[in-house]
């Protein structure tokens, strides 16, 4: 299907678009329901709990019950809030989240409107969501909300840059911004193999972009109690919730498309590839949940330092590597080598940065051991 110019679409196309959007909306809502259930179950199991068990078999109806509850709940609007902003913020967030999905292909054909500049479009729309978060924080006239909104702006914009850089280098590899082309470009080898550094950066920045642990700083429950969402309740809050999960799903889908060959896989051809696609996406999401169940949260200054001191330079490096590789037409393994070296460098940088306290700890421990040995000698003699 050639790119349609939106202004000149026929009535038939228009009806198709409406139907397709409707399908997308329902499908994504279903995905969100499944994700909330999955998240609770996976986290439960990581934490030796059971997760939901009471609503339906294995708690499968829990998300439905939650959704019903949220919709029926009273929607409290604080008296001192900026009503207009308070109302419009969730809508901005959720629309931007849905709009991204217009052009993400599930398979070669399962896409609502493929765009030649698909990647560009996605990046452009994902920035719009930030506006919604800032407005929500400001509009709810709550200091925690404001702090959260500002944190969101700082965090999301900082991590937008590495995402864009890595996406560009992937586009350079495929010589196209069209997501279908990018997937087709991975017929020989998936890009993860030749650009592991890109994957690492993209995944980390993606986590930050959707505010998952360890980057859930802008709504950190234990610090600023929900940040921009602190005053929201009922249906309004559920809209944010919806957007958050759709974004998580989108980041996982993009990771799969850019690095793991999208719907391609052995055995299944044509539109059956969507099975592979979903499988891969859910696996990536499981990893996200796994990370959530393991790590504590960073602090805002550490987060920003990490973004600007590690992520941004390294993502520039991916572009340079890819450019060199493309320009000289070197064999693929050379890029793999370069990228892996980069990854090692990143690892060392993180290691150095983050284990500075750890070294202190080791030092402290040895000093303490020495001290304790000293203290214990005259006291007990024999030890234990």
């Amino acid at each position: 299907m050639p790119a349609t110019i939106l202004l000149a679409i026929s009535l038939g196309d228009f009806i198709w678009l409406v139907i397709a959007l409707f399908i997308m909306f329902s499908a994504l809502s279903g995905v969100v329901l499944s994700l909330t259930w999955l998240e609770r179950k996976v986290l439960g199991r990581l934490q030796l709990r059971l997760g939901p068990t009471r609503t339906g078999p294995m708690g499968l109806m829990q998300p439905v019950a939650d959704a019903l509850k949220l919709i029926l709940k009273e929607d409290i609007i604080p008296a001192s809030s900026e009503k207009a902003l308070f109302w419009v913020a969730p809508i901005i967030v959720v629309i931007s989240a849905f709009m991204i999905w217009v052009t993400i292909p599930g398979t070669q054909n399962a896409v609502i409107q493929n765009l030649d500049l698909g990647l560009f479009y996605i990046i452009a729309f994902s920035v719009v969501g930030i506006l919604g978060l800032v407005l929500a924080g400001w509009g709810s006239a709550n200091k925690y909300g404001t702090l959260g909104g500002l944190r969101a702006a700082a965090q999301l914009i900082s991590y937008e840059i590495p995402i864009i850089m890595v996406a560009i280098s992937m586009a350079m590899l495929a010589q196209s911004l069209d997501l279908r082309e990018i997937v087709n470009g991975q017929d020989d080898y998936i890009y993860f193999l030749i650009q592991p550094l890109g994957l690492a950066l993209f995944f980390i920045a993606g986590l930050a972009e959707v505010g998952r642990t360890p980057f859930d700083i802008y709504f950190a429950e234990s610090e600023i109690v929900g940040g921009p969402f602190v005053e929201y309740s009922g249906a309004h809050w559920s809209v944010f919730f919806l957007a958050e999960y759709i974004n998580t799903f989108a980041i996982a889908a993009l990771t799969v498309i850019l690095f793991f060959g999208g719907w391609s896989g052995p055995g299944l051809t044509g539109d059956w590839g969507i099975i592979y696609f979903l499988l891969k996406v859910y696996l990536v999401i499981m990893v996200i949940f796994w990370i959530r169940g393991t790590f504590p949260r960073l602090r805002i200054d550490q987060l920003m330092a990490f973004a600007w001191k590690v992520m941004v330079p390294m993502s520039f490096l991916t572009i340079v590597m890819t450019a060199v590789y493309q320009f000289y037409g070197w064999p693929a393994w050379s890029l793999t080598a370069m990228s892996t070296t980069g990854l090692v460098v990143v690892g060392i940088v993180i290691y150095k940065k983050m284990t500075a306290p750890s070294k202190l700890v080791a030092e402290t421990r040895s000093r303490r051991a020495a001290l304790e040995a000293q203290r214990r000698l005259p006291a007990t003699g024999g030890g234990d």
């Binding site: 934490q47 030796l48 068990t53 796994w290």
Partner: protein
């Protein structure tokens, strides 16, 4: 870096453990993963639920003589009771000269401390295993004599209760204990 990865492994391993044997006990039943529902969540033998009055089966009357000792001993002053002459004593059926006429415990005030049980000289009050008694009205948990006796009777039946003063004293520090402690010390 390595410690973080180690942490990831720990959570993964715990998932495996969690799949095999989750530590959750579901309330009020102890249903397991497959939704099987077994016996209700058990309480320990010494569990102190709400206080209740006991029933003397031999005579067919409450143990309580309404002597007010527990009422004075209660740190929250949540009980009241009224005494009367025991009609059964006049008929020579019972050794109790006085008997409880009315008794009320405000369980919303009770802190389940067990002092009342400790001070009672007549084995008349027990800490039952009852612990789910929420009601939706303010004074719904003010229990009067029949209700208390009912809880107490259920407790007596469930646990084969013997009045503490009639229990055979296990010799303390005797041979039974002596032989057990070293044996257990070696076992682990």
């Amino acid at each position: 870096m390595f410690n973080s990865l180690k942490g990831l492994v720990v959570t993964l391993v715990s998932t495996m453990n969690g799949l095999r044997a989750p530590v959750t006990r579901q309330y009020p039943d102890s249903g397991n993963l497959l939704g099987k529902r077994d016996e209700p969540t058990p309480v320990k033998d010494r569990f102190m639920g709400f206080p209740a009055l006991t029933w003397d089966d031999e005579v067919g009357e409450p143990f309580c003589t309404s002597c007010m000792v527990c009422i004075r001993g209660c740190p929250t002053q949540c009980m009241t009771s009224v005494m009367k002459d025991n009609p059964l004593h006049e008929q020579e059926k019972s050794s109790r000269r006085k008997i409880v006429d009315s008794f009320e415990i405000n369980l919303n005030r009770c802190i389940l401390c067990g002092i009342c049980v400790e001070v009672c000289n007549f084995d008349a009050i027990v800490m039952s295993h009852e612990h789910e008694m929420s009601t939706s009205n303010r004074n719904g948990d003010r229990l009067d004599l029949p209700a208390l006796l009912e809880i107490g009777f259920k407790f007596q039946k469930d646990t084969d209760w013997i009045p503490p003063t009639k229990r055979v004293k296990v010799p303390k520090g005797g041979a039974a204990e002596e032989s057990k402690t070293p044996a257990e010390a070696e076992s682990p």
